[in-house]
């Protein structure tokens, strides 16, 4: 009878703590369950066993992010840049450094020129928008690759809304269009960029689409009024103001 309940709880929770309980009780109770297979019994025993699964459930979600430890190169960067490196973590074996905006360009120059580092290729440059983080709404994400060492590193520089980020296109020429795209999509300005203008959207397009407050649905704006002369679109206006937080 109690064996039946023991079988149901392990599904959502971890199996380790459950098994130790069952293994101890199994041998004396197995004879009882076979003899009296009656249904009203389970609800009575259920409350006593219930508290254990909810406890196990939150503990089951392991974080995939952890601090970097024992990497001499990362230690050297931490030593050189001190408090400017606010975070050095790894996710799924991928190393991420978070650096203050003031020393972001200096760190990039160091990673490019340093003899042991030699991150000679800028694989990608992008950003992400976090409206809830006041003072650090944007995050410029830079993915670097070192062809001699076959190694990757990810640099993140937090920015406030409206704050400009130093341009790395002087270090890696390939970052030129990536920074233009980031400017186009997020409105982040890059100081020292040789040619900062929109790249995918029209030059007079209002707004920056990858910001979280920008709606996904079609809307008329100054640009469409100016450039699209004849338009008869019948669309569902009920969906038009779905915010990011309400999407679940």
């Amino acid at each position: 009878m109690s064996d039946e309940e023991k079988v149901t709880p392990p599904d959502p929770s971890g199996d380790q703590p459950q098994q130790s309980e069952t293994s101890g009780e199994k041998s004396p109770q197995s004879a009882k369950t076979e003899a009296s297979a009656d249904k009203p019994a389970p609800p009575r025993a259920a409350p006593s066993d219930k508290p254990s699964p909810p406890k196990a459930a939150p503990a089951k979600k392991p974080s995939i992010t952890s601090e970097i430890a024992g990497d001499p190169f990362i230690d050297k960067i931490k030593e050189t840049f001190g408090l400017a490196i606010t975070e050095a973590v790894q996710t799924l074996g991928q190393q991420i450094l978070r650096v203050n905006r003031d020393r972001y360009l200096e760190l990039c120059g160091f990673l490019h020129d340093n003899e042991t580092a030699r991150f000679d290729m800028c694989t990608d440059l992008t950003a992400s928008h976090w409206p809830e983080r006041s003072g650090q709404e944007f995050e410029v994400v830079l993915l670097l690759y070192s062809t001699p060492n076959n190694r990757r590193i990810r640099i993140k520089a937090p920015l406030a809304d409206g704050e400009a980020c130093p341009s790395v296109s002087g270090i890696w020429a390939g970052a030129n269009w990536m920074e233009r795209e980031t400017f186009d999509m997020f409105g982040i300005k890059f100081d020292g960029h040789p040619d900062l203008r929109r790249i995918l959207l029209p030059e007079d397009w209002p707004g920056h689409p990858l910001r979280k407050e920008y709606p996904i649905e079609y809307r008329d704006n100054e640009w469409t009024d100016k450039h699209i002369e004849y338009r008869e679109v019948d669309y569902d206006t009920s969906l038009i103001d779905v915010k990011y937080g309400e999407r679940k």
Partner: protein, 395 residues
């Protein structure tokens, strides 16, 4: 440090406006004596492979400066992804580089699997390798045909499409689609291979090497082909790296960077193949690299067919995909270069941010560096040699 010279590109609108506003002065010698002329190429131009607009500043026939105007096909895939569940996003990836849809899928699906910690069955990994390598051959054949017709060799297009058609037929029977083939799902494949799949791929691989010899007979010793490609758009290795180039464009300059070897994914460590490299970094070397890559792909597919394991093709994946809070970057070697996905998960069923690392977009950036100093006609050859697909450039 070797940086591409002079990053300053004049405003594209300013250039065109300037052309209309300017009064044409008749110089003493000829009409355009010592004048720089701005002309517009595209967006509806057959050699731009889609809707690429190139604004050229010319001195006679020599290119002095160049600017690319892109974005005509912008659909906002990264924005759409923030409002779709993980499984719903995959078909959008087919439509990025629409001549190599299978490769794109592998990138996205692999990224989500890495974030979830799913282990894909070995049979699925092998089938994925077979399909992506077939796709690489198809993409390179399409590139060869269009590149050749752009610079005057019409015949090759007809032959290359004949072979590509065979691959598309294999795809159609496997996946149900020819172009936007959506074969991969998070956790494996939706369908197992059909009974004649092995035989049909082997039959195709049997005829292909002879056909590649045919193309090379048509082109390698062709004087027109050589004079249009040899020495055009030379790119040294350090500049190619600095410009973030990947794929055959980078390997044509002699840089040994192929993700299948450098950072292996899927079942690639189990196969024996080589990475072809160029020496001079010109258009002709990039052609040779791609032709050699087709031969290496044949080797990989043969090995994969020989060792194709039995078993399931789909891992156990929860119906509602909710990756843990965190982020991942995953990239593969697509026919055009390194295609990557940067996923940020906030623990919900939809990604908080999805960034596509587009190889053609980043490679197209080098067009300006390659073209300056060459003739207008060479710009056509150089657009071809970079191998762009505007669906992916504009996203």
């Amino acid at each position: 440090m070797n940086v591409a010279p002079n990053n300053q590109i004049p405003n594209s609108q300013g250039l065109v406006k300037g052309m209309h506003e300017q009064e044409v002065e008749i110089a003493p010698g000829t009409l355009f004596d010592a004048e720089e002329m701005v002309i517009n190429m595209g967006p509806q131009h057959p050699s731009t492979h889609g809707v690429l607009r190139v604004i050229l500043k010319l001195d006679g026939e020599t290119v002095r400066d160049l600017d690319c105007d892109i974005g005509y096909l912008h659909r906002g895939v990264e924005k759409i992804a923030e409002h779709d569940t993980y499984a719903m996003i995959t078909p959008y990836w087919d439509r990025l580089d629409y001549v190599a849809a299978v490769s794109n899928d592998l990138c996205y699906v692999g990224g989500v699997e890495k974030l979830l910690g799913v282990e894909v069955p070995r049979r699925a990994e092998y089938l994925r390798v077979i399909l992506t390598e077939l796709q690489r051959i198809a993409s390179h054949l399409l590139w060869l045909g269009t590149h050749a017709i752009d610079i005057g060799a019409v015949t090759v297009l007809l032959y290359a499409f004949r072979e590509r058609e065979e691959i598309l037929k294999i795809f159609e029977d496997f996946i149900g689609a020819r172009l936007t083939a959506h074969a991969f799902r998070i956790g494996g494949l939706w369908w197992d291979a059909y009974p004649e799949f092995d035989k049909r791929v082997r039959d195709f691989l049997k005829i292909l090497p002879g056909r590649i010899d045919e193309y090379e007979t048509l082109l390698n010793a062709n004087r027109i082909w050589l004079s249009r490609t040899v020495g055009i758009g030379i790119l040294p290795a350090d500049e190619a790296i600095n410009l973030s180039l990947t794929g055959p464009v980078l390997r044509g300059s002699g840089v040994n960077y192929d993700l299948r070897k450098a950072q292996p994914y899927s079942a690639y460590p189990e196969f024996d193949f080589e990475i072809p490299l160029g020496e001079n970094g010109d258009t002709y070397d990039r052609y040779l690299v791609r032709m050699a890559e087709i031969r290496q792909s044949i080797r990989i597919i043969e090995q994969a067919l020989d060792g194709l394991p039995e078993g399931p093709v789909m891992a156990k994946v929860p119906k509602v995909i909710k990756p843990p809070v965190g982020e991942v970057y995953f990239s593969i070697e697509a026919p055009k270069g390194e295609i990557g996905v940067y996923l940020v998960s906030d623990g919900t069923t939809k990604p908080y941010r999805m960034r596509i690392r587009p190889p053609a977009f980043i490679n197209l950036q080098s067009l300006r560096r390659l073209s300056i100093g060459h003739l207008v006609a060479d710009v056509v050859a150089l657009i071809g040699t970079i191998d762009i697909v505007l669906g992916e450039v504009d996203r």
